[in-house]
Amino acid sequence: MSGGPAVRVSIESQCERQVQEVSLDGLETYVPPLSMSQNLAKLAQRIDFDQSSDSEQDGPERESREPWSKPEPEEDEGAVKFQPSLWPWDSVRNNLRGALTEMCVLHDVLSVLKEKKYMALDPVSQDPIQTPQVFQLISKKKSLATAAQLLLKGAEKLNKSLAENQEQRRQRDFNSELLRLRSQWKLRKVGDKILGDLSYRSAGSLFPHHGTFEVIKNTDLDLDKKVPDDYCPLSVQIPSDLEGSAYIKVSIQKQSPDIGDLGTVSLFRRQPKAKPGKTWHVKLEAAQNVLLCKEIFAQLSREAVQIKSQIPHIVVKNQIISQPFPGLQLSISLCHSTGEKRSQRASPEKSKPDDHLYVLEHNLHQLIREFHKQTLSSVVMPHPASAPFGHKRLRLAGPMAYDKAEISSLQQSEGLLEKIIKQAKHIFLRSRTARTIDTLASRIEDPQIQAHWSNINDVYESSVKVLITSQGYEQICKVLSFSVKRP
């Protein structure tokens, strides 16, 4: 046809889906198309497994009987015609059928077995491996022997080391003892002798005692006899004047001294346990203590003689007596016992109560150690080459124009003896003050007096708080606080 405008032709595909329902507003709902798995299921459902196998078997027979049974194949063809459309699934179908058969058989067998009436399981008997018994025995023996050998070796080693330790502990080799000695004391070798130093010189002491001890090897050990328990292959020989033990006895007595009694205080209050076989450690320590006590006493007696005081100090043999207060006597004595004389144990000192002031003895030791430290103190060293020796602050004395009072406060002016006397004075004053306050408090009933002594005291100062209260009157309360100071 020519001429005319083009006509729009709309082509619509045929609606392949079935309409499920038509709603009231005209909307058509289609049946959703089958998915692949649904399609497959539909097809698989149409498989008739029973009919197909019969039809297969009968297939060739039917073909042979074809000439004389024509009407039958027509019916069968209808059924057979059904098969070619399922041909791709044929093998699948066959396999599944076979698997199903086998599973059914297995299931049946197992169920029959379970009942145990008609069928039973029996293991298949195998031929046993025949090994000769002798061979077994030999191999077992060998393996046991190896194990036993290892264990024996280990046990032997342990035994050996244990025996060695015990032997060592008993015999205590000289060199190991020497090593131990050297770890604690200063030793040096002079020629073929080994000498040591037990003085405090390296710690700052200026005492002229040499303090040398000698180390000796003990060779008088008889190996055949049993080794004694406290045997030591090393022994030390200390200077003869440092033997024994010593201590400084400081005591305050009220009565004035009897001139005849002076110089008799050399007896020991404490019993020294003098063992004949003291180890070197104990011996050296005791000797060092004796040396320190000697130094303290020497310093005290030097000061007692040199320093002028109002009441002179008396120095007799090993005792220094001074009078801090009139009627009060302070005696400092060096008690040195060599441990040999035991006959003088019976002494009149025993009957008196023990008035040895341990505090002052301890303080004496502390003071002498402080004095040692001062000679070595870092305050003195290092110092500039142009400055004189002395306290570091003294270098400021020039530029800061210190006057004499300030300079003397920087320099140590008090000696050991003065300090100890001051401390003794303080102890006496404090006890007397306490006694006075207590007597007053017990005697006076109204007002009430209470004394609280402070726990923290100085060697030269103590403080006490005295509360004087009147019962029933809360406002009236006088508090006295005073300190017993050094004069």
Binding site: L394, R395, A397, G398, P399, M400, A401, Y402, D403, K404
Partner: protein, 212 residues
Amino acid sequence: MGVTCVCQVPVAEGKSVQQTVDMLHKKLEQLGAVKQGNFWVDCETYQATGNATGQPTKLLYVMHNSETPLSSMALFEGGPGLTADANFDVLMVKLKSHFQNAKGHKVESRGTRYRYCDFLVKIGTVAMSSSARGISVEVEYCACVIPGDCWNLMKEFMQSFLGSSTPELPAVFTSKAEGLYAPVDCMDTMSQYLELFGKVRKQQVLAGSGVR
């Protein structure tokens, strides 16, 4: 360390220096003062060399005081001062090329030291090349370091034994930037001594009519 006042006491009419000094001692002892040793103060003169011509040579005074035995004080007249260690004298020897020691100009004052409660009184004979030229009296009130607070007390005390020779407030205290209420320094004492020594030196010059 307290407020010090240094003054010069004129020699009494018809008496020698020593006799005046003894008189003062007696007065103090009557007052109740206690003798407490000796004291000395000395002053050395150093001339600065190498300065421009036309300008007067600067004089450096190095002084020592027995109250501060470990110190040396160096000061210019009216100028800055320095307090140093006793090794300063050795240093001056090393600085010979810059500071020449005028050996004839060494002045010193030696005498006794009295203590009366908080007061320290030092009566010294000022001597130049071992010839007594005058008397110096130093009164120190140890309890205070502010001159403004204690000047009246000191004046009263000095009047009790010095009588008419009591000095006025020393110029060093008034010339300070902070005034009378600045704490004292050892330099103040030394400046006062320097003034006194200068006066004594000039006196001798005048008396000796130009002969040094």
